[in-house]
């Protein structure tokens, strides 16, 4: 990190250095950006991280293979379920366990519900960053239904810890199907509201179109993933290219755009919600009967080796890299978090734009700070 004198030394005449964060309404957490400004124009952005670094990678080294899954809920708390899924899949891959069909269908359903909930929250927060407060409450109304479903089946609203290696912690709640159907119905009715309030709004379009452009080459080079990369035309949906948990058996489209600006990223996420709804509709009536948990030993000791799983969270590609030495605990765990790579592109995207544009760019990057800091 820079010391204060260094900053002053490197600042040219007429430039203004402002510290955005770690306490700032638009950074949604404790992100600290040191922004060099020329008037209102951004010259340079320097992210400073670590305000919420808990060293989950080190923590995971001292927890056993059942325990370390719960910590990952605290990384990207908005897609907690998908994080857990990645870890459980990694352990299953190491132990070469086949997950029962019912469990994997439920995992997919829950993942898609989590994705919708995450995108709903993002949509509200993004609109709020641009000064429209009201959509936030409308999106939370739908998100509330999902968290209620989660609460009923998984026992918690945000950090579910519903997945255990080999399957699920317990079976679905009897009301699950009916509640999900009610949610899908309401979601389809209300999704047009955002079109009127946000998408088609002339001010919103003016604020986001052509702002924070990320070209295809840059998106790949910066290691961007998820909606950020897909808005730049990079086909990177792990659910499509390396299908897991039976994503290859459901029909959905990978939403792509080529504009690479904030509006494209916005549209991608909105369309992705509809694709998630499509997956849920296909699966909700076809949950196979059977066990929800594969037979596993009480103590999990994967063989010596290295295992890597990739999943598509709401923010992009999450990779879990486990080095096992054959013991009760992993030797080394690395979480490749999508937000960390996406954040590294922020400086490139925001240079030369106005401070107001930074909000649109940062909002559409969908940064979750604990995911970046881990």
């Amino acid at each position: 990190m820079y010391t204060e004198t260094q900053v002053i030394k490197e600042t040219k005449e007429g430039e203004l250095v402002i510290n955005m964060g770690p306490q700032h309404p638009a950074t949604h957490g404790v992100l600290h950006l040191v922004i060099t400004l020329d008037g209102e124009t951004i010259k340079k952005i320097e992210p400073h991280l670590g305000y919420i670094h808990r060293s989950i990678e080190k923590m995971s080294e001292s927890l056993n293979y059942r325990q370390f899954i719960y910590v990952t809920s605290r990384m990207d708390y908005l897609s907690a379920h998908i994080n857990n899924l990645a870890c459980a899949m990694n352990v299953e891959k190491a132990m070469q366990i086949e997950v029962p069909k019912r469990a994997s269908v439920i995992r997919v359903l829950m993942s898609e519900l989590t994705r919708i909930a995450s995108h709903e929250l993002w949509l509200g927060a993004m609109a709020m960053d641009l000064g429209a407060f009201t959509p936030f409450f409308y999106t939370f109304r739908e998100r509330e239904l999902i968290t209620d479903i989660m609460e009923e089946t998984c026992g918690a609203r945000l950090t579910m810890n519903y997945i255990v290696p080999g399957g699920l912690m317990y079976d679905l709640h009897p009301d699950f199907q009916q509640k999900v159907k009610a949610f899908v119905k309401q979601f389809k009715q209300k999704v047009t509201e955002f079109e009127d309030l946000v998408t088609n709004n002339v001010i919103f379009q003016a604020r986001t179109k052509g702002v924070g452009i990320l070209s295809r080459e840059d998106a790949i080079s910066y290691g961007c993933s998820g909606p950020v990369a897909r808005a730049s035309g990079v086909s990177c949906d792990i659910r499509k290219i390396y299908p897991y948990e039976g994503y290859d058996t459901v029909e959905f489209d990978e939403v792509l755009d080529t504009a690479g600006d904030s509006f494209a990223r916005y549209i991608i996420r909105v369309k992705e919600m509809n694709q998630s709804i499509r997956i849920i509709e296909q699966l909700i009536d076809n949950i196979p009967e059977g066990d929800t948990q594969a037979k596993m030993k009480a103590v999990i000791k994967p063989p010596k080796g290295e295992f890597y799983t990739r999943v598509e969270t709401a923010r992009g590609e999450l990779g879990v890299y486990i080095v096992s030495e054959g013991g009760m605990t992993p030797y080394r765990v690395k979480y490749r978090s999508p937000g960390f790579s996406n954040l590294s592109a922020l400086d490139h995207m925001a240079r030369g734009s106005k401070i107001g544009d930074l909000m649109a760019t940062m909002g559409t990057l969908d940064l979750v700070i604990p995911d970046i800091d881990r």
């Binding site: 000064g131 604020r207 107001g356 930074l358």
Partner: protein, 358 residues
């Protein structure tokens, strides 16, 4: 029929019959000051509560509902909290300007109260250049904001103040031009004349489309001038935390907050006066019967009703639209509002000369 005119006349007659004229004038001044301050306090409380309730209902929430019936005294509680809070002054701030700024903003808001006609013959000062006075004084508030932004010695405040300066200066133009349309039609700058000219119908209705355009531009421009969303760039929360009043706390912050709401009230009152006839009841041409029924509603209620309708409109904007970017804000003014209002004023002049209005 209830009328404030009667009360004021009685008081004035009594004062002049009991005291020496100079002394009576002084007492009148004191009464006016007290009333103005009382009005300020009451308006602040009511408007803040109204804003919160309007916001809540738009956002499918209930809003304040704990203090008093239906949350009526929430703003009173908030005010007490703000008064009791410590007013922090940053170490490196320009202390004199820092303390002065909220009062400048407040005094400007108070000065604007003078020419407003609250009811029939109930006006502090019926100055003959009323509209000009309002335009002139309202642009002074930018000095207070710049002062606050500079004196805080905070980069966010400075950016906010600079934005505010650019914004108020440019929107002053189209606000002024749209006000002028009514002046052209009336032929007078005096508020009482403007209201009197609307005795057979409000300008909004009898002025054809040009006046409607002028009205829309006026609403947009005053929304910008009072730094309200979608033009709240000076205090853009997600960009500049709180803009020019980032460093203010306690009572000084409360003054800024109050001044913002008073400014909204005043610009809406002026809008109501110019375009919706002020205290003038809804009169339609020569329908004597209808006009007579309308006259039974007290003029003060007409005035307040129109003003609060406009305030509601501005609040409705705030809770619906995203914020503009600073260059788009200026584009909107210079590329859209200003050319349209210039064209508009030519049209209105033609209408006024040919006497095409009703």
């Amino acid at each position: 029929m209830f009328s404030l005119e009667g009360i004021t006349n009685t008081i004035q007659n009594w004062l002049y019959s009991t005291f020496d004229p100079t002394f009576a004038l002084l007492i009148e001044c004191a009464i006016v000051i007290l009333l103005a301050i009382g009005l300020f306090a009451a308006l602040g409380l009511v408007l803040v509560l109204m804003e919160r309730k309007v916001a809540a209902h738009i956002q499918i929430r209930l809003g304040p509902n704990r203090v008093g019936p239906g949350g009526m005294f929430q703003t009173v509680a908030d005010t007490i909290k703000l008064i009791l809070k410590e007013g922090l002054v940053p170490d490196l701030a320009d202390k004199f300007l820092f303390n002065l700024a909220p009062f400048v903003v407040m005094i400007v808001a108070m000065l604007l109260l003078a020419p407003i006609a609250f009811a029939k013959n109930f006006q502090i000062w019926d100055i003959n250049i009323g509209v000009l006075y309002v335009s002139a004084v309202s642009s002074l508030s930018v000095i207070g904001i710049l002062m606050a932004g500079w004196a805080s010695n905070n980069k966010y405040s400075l950016l906010g103040a600079m934005r505010s300066g650019a914004q108020i200066v440019s929107y002053e133009l189209s606000a002024g031009l749209s006000v002028l349309t009514v002046v052209v039609l009336t032929g007078s700058l005096q508020i009482s004349d403007i209201i009197a000219s609307q005795a057979d119908g409000w300008w909004l209705f009898k002025g054809h489309i040009p006046v409607i355009i002028a009205f829309v531009i006026f609403i947009i421009a005053v929304t910008a001038e009072t730094n309200r969303a979608p033009f709240d760039l000076a205090e853009a929360e997600s960009e500049l935390t709180a803009g020019f009043h980032t460093e203010y706390s306690g009572m000084r912050f409360a003054l800024f907050f109050l001044a913002e709401y008073i400014n909204i009230f005043i610009v809406c009152a002026i809008g109501a006066t110019l375009f919706l006839g002020g205290w003038m009841p809804l009169h339609i041409g020569h329908w004597e019967g209808f006009n007579h029924i309308m006259d039974y509603i007290p003029s003060s209620i007409w005035f307040m009703g129109k003003t609060f309708f406009l305030i509601f409109l501005i609040m409705w904007f705030r809770w619906t639209f995203p914020r503009l970017r600073v260059d788009q804000l200026l584009n909107l003014e210079w590329k859209y509002l200003l050319p349209i209002s210039m064209l508009n004023i030519i049209l209105v002049t033609v209408i006024a000369i040919l006497g095409w209005h009703f």
